[in-house]
């Protein structure tokens, strides 16, 4: 297979600990980012509607018009759906723009679908996440139809605002 995100580092953020491999029946939710059509045209359109000097300034598109522009080609939709069906993945839903598929499937099925992936659990206090520390691949014929698969490697970013005490420490160190 081909790795779609060969350059995606797998980093377990501080505070998270490995809690072992998940059961084969553990449900996982994967987000398939289907290759969009005509992003170059989308870029030109964004430039036109956002530039006050353009005659098209402010002539925005509805979500449905955006869908008509970016929705994946029939070949992409057919190839990805057939691939999922062939692996028994049926619990999927799409979005209005048709360029994402969100699917629920057991971890064992996901590991067969995405060779190389291995689902493990990571915990941080009361929170628990399932991720694959190993890169996933897709069959070569799928690579041109998928941008990436979400829910595999990235951990959510902790967002923290600082309070004054912490900032003084940083200032002193600086």
């Amino acid at each position: 297979g081909l790795a779609l995100e060969r350059d995606q580092p797998f980093r377990v953020p501080p505070g998270w600990t490995h809690a072992g491999r998940v059961d084969p029946g553990q449900p996982v939710q994967l987000t398939f980012a289907l290759r969009q059509r005509d992003t170059a045209r989308l870029a030109r359109l964004v430039e036109a509607v956002s530039d006050p000097r353009s005659s098209q300034y402010g002539q925005y598109l509805s979500l449905e018009q955006v869908r008509d522009l970016v929705q994946p080609s029939p070949a992409t939709l057919m190839t990805v759906l057939k691939w999922l069906q062939d692996h028994g993945v049926e619990d999927c839903r799409t979005v209005t723009t048709l360029d994402f598929l969100e699917c629920h499937l057991p971890a064992s099925m996901a590991e067969l679908l995405l060779p190389g992936a291995e689902f493990h659990r990571y915990v941080h206090g009361q929170r628990s996440l399932v991720r694959s520390p190993l890169p996933y691949t897709v069959p070569p014929e799928l690579a041109e139809h998928l941008d990436f698969v979400g829910g595999m490697h990235r951990f959510p970013v902790e967002r923290t605002v600082s309070r004054a005490e912490a900032r003084k420490d940083v200032g002193s160190a600086g």
Binding site: L4, E5, R6, D7, Q8, P9, V28, Q29, L30, T31, A33, T39, L42, V46, E47, V49, S50, D51, P52, R53, Y57, G58, Y60, L61, S62, L63, E64, V66, L69, V70, V95, T96, T97, F100, F119, R121, R127, S128, L129, V130, R131, D147, F148, G150, G151, R154, P156, V157, R159, T160, V161, S162, R163, A164, E165, R167, V170, G171, A173, G174
Partner: protein, 374 residues
């Protein structure tokens, strides 16, 4: 200059010249902030915040719509901050909160938010997001696709504002053992408007602003510099009195932030307790978002389209002689690598655009006038 004991809505509105009349009037205008993980706000905190700090302007005390799950646990400081300050500058504008806790163990909360945008035909015109990750921690395929999602939002006329981050220029050691700066994504996307941070020069007076040394900024290693900012950034690179060594950054990349607002010493009510000294570009971003929502309100009243993706218009203001729309921040530098070469200093603010505070902070009436021009 007025004395104060920290940034409150009244102080922000005073500094940015917002009058009591600068509040939302249209029922069909709205603004939003996005929360990730288990970050919840409490309506009661918002009500208390407005009771304490909102007496000088017409405002709402309720978030009108929560998209996603709002837990019943303790309120998060970040969520409280977002809601309280977007509703202080974007006063009286209907406000939504997108709450993406990542409830499923294998969900990516940020991706879940993007999917919501791609699935809802009616969403607020303005979105404030205080979220970011190091570019080098993300795959190219992921960043390029997320960038395309921002293009989709821009095509629909949505304004998406991201905090520039709280680590200055950032720092990382590359394979050679040398240091380079560390850009943050999505702040570095060419299709979002990125907000940096400032502090009052005198922390207890409403005076001119200087850079907040934590304000994120720099140049993307992934996305090339978009045409709309090439002239402004080129001028900075040619005229800056002192620049870090060129090996620390990619001078041909998308440069950020685009503008800034106060990011230091805020008051926030969370879990019914007023807390002082809250800081970060997480504070400046909803402040700017609220102002953009107010400008949309006025544009919609005049039958004009909402501002949409703001950057092309923003970078043209100076060329159109409308530079007074911003208070130019020209003093101070932000953080970077603690090494012998740069000694903790990243970029420094200067006249016009710079990679610490962008164009500067909004002078609301001038910015409104400039952006009301058809």
């Amino acid at each position: 200059a007025s004395f104060h004991l920290g940034v409150t809505p009244a102080i922000l509105r005073q500094r940015y010249n917002m009058t009591g009349g600068d509040v939302g009037l249209l029922p069909n205008n709205s603004q939003a902030c996005a929360q990730f993980l288990e970050q919840y706000f409490h309506q009661a905190d918002l009500a208390e915040f407005m009771q304490l700090f909102g007496s000088s302007f017409a405002h709402r005390t309720q978030v009108d719509r929560v998209v996603g799950h709002q837990g019943h646990g303790k309120a998060g400081l970040e969520a409280s901050l977002d809601v309280e300050y977007i509703m202080s500058t974007g006063a009286n504008v209907s406000t939504w909160v997108f709450s993406n806790a990542g409830r499923h163990e294998s969900q990516e909360p940020f991706l879940a938010w993007l999917l919501l945008l791609s699935n809802m035909s009616a969403v607020p015109w303005v979105h404030s997001v205080s979220y970011g990750d190091d570019e080098d921690s993300l795959s190219l395929a992921y960043m390029e696709r997320v960038n395309a999602e921002f293009m989709k939002a821009a095509a629909r006329g949505l304004t998406v504002l991201f905090a520039s981050g709280d680590d200055g220029a950032g720092c990382r050691r590359v394979h050679s053992g040398n240091h380079t700066f560390r850009p943050s994504f999505p702040a570095s996307s060419p299709y979002v408007t990125t907000v940096g941070g400032t502090s009052f020069k005198n922390p207890f007076l409403v005076t001119e602003e200087v850079t907040d040394y934590i304000s994120g900024g720099g140049f993307s290693n992934i996305f090339p510099m978009p045409g709309y900012q090439a002239a402004a950034v080129g001028r900075f690179l040619h005229s800056a009195s002192k620049l870090p060594p060129s090996s620390y950054y990619n001078s041909s990349g998308r440069a950020y932030p685009d503008l800034a607002a106060l990011s230091d010493n805020y008051w926030v009510v969370t879990n019914r307790i007023p807390l002082p000294w809250v800081s970060g570009t997480s504070a400046s971003t909803p402040v700017v978002a609220g102002m953009v929502a107010l400008i949309n309100d006025r544009r919609l009243q005049r039958g004009l389209a909402p501002l949409g993706f703001l950057n092309p218009a923003l970078y043209q203001l100076q060329e159109r002689g409308l530079g007074a729309a911003f208070y130019d921040v020209t003093q101070g530098c932000h953080l970077s690598c603690l090494d012998g070469t740069v000694q903790g200093q990243g970029f420094c603010a200067g006249p016009a655009w710079d990679p610490v505070t962008g164009w500067g902070t909004p002078n609301f009436p001038s910015l409104l006038r400039a952006l009301l021009l058809p």
